[in-house]
Amino acid sequence: MHRFNWLLIFSQFINGLQLGSIYALISLGYSMVYGIIMLLNFAHGDIIMVGGYIALISILNRFGPFISVFFAISGCAVISVLIERLAYRPLRKASKTSLLITAIGVSIFLQNLAQLIFSANGRPFPASSILKNNKMRFGKINVNSVTIITILISIISMLLLVILVHKTKLGKAMRAVSEDLESGQLMGINIDKVISFTFILGSSLAGIASIMFCCQYPLVNPTMGYMIGMKAFIAAVLGGIGSIPGAVVGGFTIGFVEIFVSAIGFSAWIDVAVFAVLIIVLLIRPFGILGRRLTEKV
């Protein structure tokens, strides 16, 4: 009989946390934006790619790691605010379908723009210039420092998000608007401001996720955001789209499912497993794990 290998299980658990925390950070952006303007922002995944290229270019131009990370995060924020202003805001009164198609268009646009500037070939990401990956030993267990740092930074970012959303005036306005847009407007909330704030929060988290993803899988290419974005989107739906804790729970669930499936030797089946989990959860809970039935908005 096989000896039960606790060490292996523990290190896979840590890997699941790492991948899950990256998904969680990204799916928060999908969920918050959906909560405010009911848009499945398909361009959100491509923000990961934007962050990756900005970090790459700044490192190559000898900006230090801190400055490069700062550029990447703020670049993601600026670009997604611009996308909202130029592409989504003019459609505020249009149908949800037009908005959705526009988001898909923006996603294709970003991928093609990156291809035009950087070519379709992937470029190696200088991960070690941002985070040196040291092996760390805890007793008998080996863990990569990138893994630990990813988990810690994600948890800190999520805690900061919770504080922002619960303690600041704009954060409270954001929750109010996400619950009832009309009622929020009647309180004198400037919804343009709240929408911009939401996009800034979501894309900054995506920027952080982007750096940590690139440090773990050091290759950037124009379509890299597609699959991560898709997984994070599934995570948001799984957790209950519109719900902040839901996005986190969904992100970690998808991370663990992927690591588990590949640990038992079925790496080729990862995507199938992810969709299977989504389908099963939605059959049992149609609004996601922590989702609320959305009250009919008039």
Binding site: K172, R175, A176, S183, Q185, L186, M187, G188, I189, R292
Partner: protein, 233 residues
Amino acid sequence: MLKVSNINVYYDIIYAVKDVSFEVNAGEIVSLIGANGAGKSTILKTLSGLLKSETGSISFLDNEIKNMLPNEIVKLGIVHVPEGRRIFANMTVKENLEVGGYVRSKKEVEEGIEDIFFRFPRLKERHRQLAGTLSGGEQQMLAIGRALMSKPTLLMFDEPSMGLAPLLIAQVFEIIKELNSLGTTILLVEQNAQMALSISNRGYVLENGKIVISDDSKSLLQNDIVKCAYLGS
């Protein structure tokens, strides 16, 4: 104070408000009564900027507000307590009040909350509770408190009596009268015409999107058409 002239409001092809004009003077309580679907809520939503009229004008304290955004209108002092209360159910009572004071400074919000808690001790006891767990009457108090947070000069109520027990209805109307005596002008939309007319100075009767009668409330209570159609006698 408020002068509405010839507004027309559509929902796509539905013509909901037809060439409506009316006024509210400073210090008054004015009622807008009418049956289901007459267009009462549509008028209030147009005044608060949620809906737009292509025609006419809405002037408030010498400002043309017809094309202003809802948040600009709140800043000018018009606040709308919506039909069905529409409190933020997943936020606490205190957070609801804080959001109500969105256009005010931090200090004004703190003072405002103290005032509201003094006026409605029930809300104070429950300030950390999620607003969705309050009873219907408490939710109406919260909706009123939340609207008061931005210190309105004109307060608009959309069916404040809806879904409340008679005792609570009387209490809500008492509060409205008291707010008015403290200097807030009131525009009151009601199906409960008896109650509304009994506390207001003047009233307008709305039918199918048109104003069909306007008079002072005493006369409206004696008016045969009103008696027959809205007072159930």
